[in-house]
Amino acid sequence: MLRQIGIPLASIIVFLALWELLVWANGWPNFKMASPSDLPPAFIRYWDLFLSMGWQTLWRTVAGLALAVVVGTAIGMIIGFSRIARDALYPLLVGFNAIPKATLVPVISLIFIGQHDFNTVLMAFMISFFPIAVSVGIGLSTLEPEYRDILRSLGASRFTIFRKIALPKTLPEFFGALKVSVTLAFIGTNLVEIVSPHGRGLGALFKSGETNGDYPLMFAVLIALAFLGIVLYYAVVYLEKVFAGWAERPQS
C-alpha cells in the first residue's frame, strides 16, 4: 500500500520541486513560465470556473470515449471476422488516422455550426477510436483456430463462439488500447474547446488565460487536465482489473 501510493506521490513532489527550482534558478518571471507556487492562488481564484469547466471537459471526453468504444469495437469486429472487410477498410482507417485532427476542427464546426457539445464529443471520438478498432480487429483475427474448434465441433453458433471465447480473449488488448484512447480523447476535446470561439471547458479556460495574459491560470489548466487524465486512466485500469484481471500473471 505504501509502495503503491507513496512512490508515485514522492515522484510527483520531486517533479514539482525541480520545476520550482528551474524557474527560480533562471529567475524567470511568471509570464515566461509559471512555477508551481503560482498555481494554488490561480486555482483558488478561479475555483468555480475550474469546477464547471472541468466538468464540461470531463463529460464530453467520456462521451467521446464511450462512442469510440462502441464504434471502435464494431469496426474491430468487422475487420476481425472478414478478410474482405479488413482489406477494404484498413487503408481508409489508416488514412483517416493520419490526418491531423486539428485540420478537421474548421470542417466539423462548419458542418455543425454552433453545436459546441456535439462537435467536442465528435472530435474526442474521431481521435480515439482508431487504437480500439485496430486492437479488437487484431485480437479477433489472430484467435487460434483450435479455440474456435472446441466449440464449433459441438455445433455452437458463431455468436456463441464470439461471446464465450473471442470476446473475453480480446479484452486485454482492448483495455491496452483504451488506455491509449483515454489520453487521445482529452486531446480531441481540448482541441475543439481551445479553437472554437465562445467555447466551454478547460480548453476555453486556457484560451481565456492566454487572452488575458494570465500565465499562472494557463499552467493551472494544464495541471487540471493532467489530473483529469490521471483520474480517467486509473478508472480504466480499475475496469481492466475487474474484467480482465485474469490476464495479469502473478508476479514472481
Partner: protein, 262 residues
C-alpha cells in the same frame, strides 16, 4: 461389432495459390464401437485433416464419413476434441473450463449437475482440489489432463485427439497414457488418436493405422492384441518390440525410404 466410425474412400485437396494440394487419396478407416484407433504417419501427411473430417468441421471433396450409421454433414454434439495445445480459456477456472461443453450441448442441465460431472472427471485424472485454479497456475501435464476432462465431459460417442501428448516431456507423457487407459475403462467413448509416437500408439490402441505419405491413404493396419489392462512394462516385452519394428518399417515405407534389414 458395429463400426462407429466409417471413412470410405475419402479424397481431399486444399486449394492453394499454386494449385490444389492433395492431402487424402481414397482413405479408408473403420473403427468399431468402443475401441481405440491410433493413427500414425509421416509429418504433414494429412492426419489433422482426418480429425477435422470426422468432427464435421470440413467436408471431403470425395468419399463419405459415417458416424454411428449417419453420414457426417456438419458438427455434432456427440464429438469431443483434444489438441496438442490444451486451449484452456485463461479467464475461466479449471472447473469452469471443464464445464464449457455442457453449456453448449446441455443448456438445461443444472449448474450443480454440471459441477458434479466435472468433479467426477477431475477426480479420475488426479486433479482433485484444482477446481478454482487458473490454467496459468497449472503445469503442462495438468493442463492437458484438464483439457481431456473437457473433451469428454459431455459423454461424446467419439473422442478425437490430435497429438494431445506431443508437447509433454517423456515421463509426463507416460503418466498421461495411463490416465487415458483408466478413462477408457470408465467412459464409453470410441477414440481416434493421431500421434507420432509408435509406443503410444501400441500402448493405447486396439488397432494402429499407418497412413502413407501425402496424399495419404491407408497403408497398413495392425490389430493390437494385448490385454486391456496394460501396464507400461508391456512396452518392454518382445511381442511389443516386434510390433514396433513392423510399424517402424511401415513408417519408413510411408516416408519413401527403404525399411531396415533386421
Amino acid at each position: 461389432m458395429e463400426n462407429l466410425i466409417d471413412i470410405k474412400g475419402v479424397t481431399h485437396a486444399y486449394k492453394t495459390d499454386s494449385g490444389p494440394l492433395p492431402v487424402l487419396d481414397g482413405l479408408d478407416v473403420s473403427v468399431p464401437e468402443g475401441t481405440f484407433a491410433a493413427v500414425v504417419g509421416p509429418s504433414g501427411c494429412g492426419k489433422s485433416t482426418l480429425t477435422r473430417l470426422v468432427a464435421g468441421l470440413m467436408k471431403p471433396d470425395e468419399g463419405e464419413v459415417w458416424l454411428h450409421g449417419e453420414r457426417v454433414k456438419g458438427p455434432r454434439k456427440t464429438v469431443g476434441m483434444a489438441f496438442q495445445n490444451p486451449v484452456l480459456l485463461e479467464w475461466r477456472t479449471i472447473l469452469q473450463n471443464v464445464i464449457l461443453p455442457l453449456e453448449i450441448v446441455a443448456p438445461s442441465m443444472s449448474q450443480k449437475d454440471r459441477e458434479t460431472r466435472a468433479h467426477e472427471l477431475l477426480d479420475m485424472v488426479g486433479l482433485t482440489g484444482f477446481d478454482d485454479k487458473r490454467p496459468s497456475e497449472l503445469s503442462g501435464g495438468m493442463r492437458q489432463r484438464a483439457s481431456l476432462c473437457r473433451s469428454i465431459v459431455h459423454k461424446p460417442e467419439v473422442l478425437i485427439m490430435d497429438e494431445p501428448f506431443g508437447a509433454l516431456d517423456a515421463f509426463t507423457r507416460e503418466d498421461l497414457w495411463q490416465t487415458m487407459r483408466d478413462l477408457r475403462k470408465a467412459e464409453p467413448f470410441t477414440c481416434v488418436l493421431i500421434t507420432h509416437d509408435l509406443r503410444e500408439s501400441v500402448f493405447l490402441g486396439d488397432q494402429v493405422i499407418v497412413l502413407s505419405g501425402r496424399p495419404a491413404r491407408t497403408q497398413y493396419v495392425m490389430p493390437i492384441e494385448l490385454p486391456e489392462d496394460r501396464t507400461l512394462d508391456i512396452l518392454y516385452t518382445p511381442a511389443v518390440a516386434d510390433m514396433l519394428h513392423v510399424l517402424r518399417d511401415q513408417i519408413k515405407i510411408a516416408q519413401g525410404r527403404a525399411p531396415e534389414v533386421h
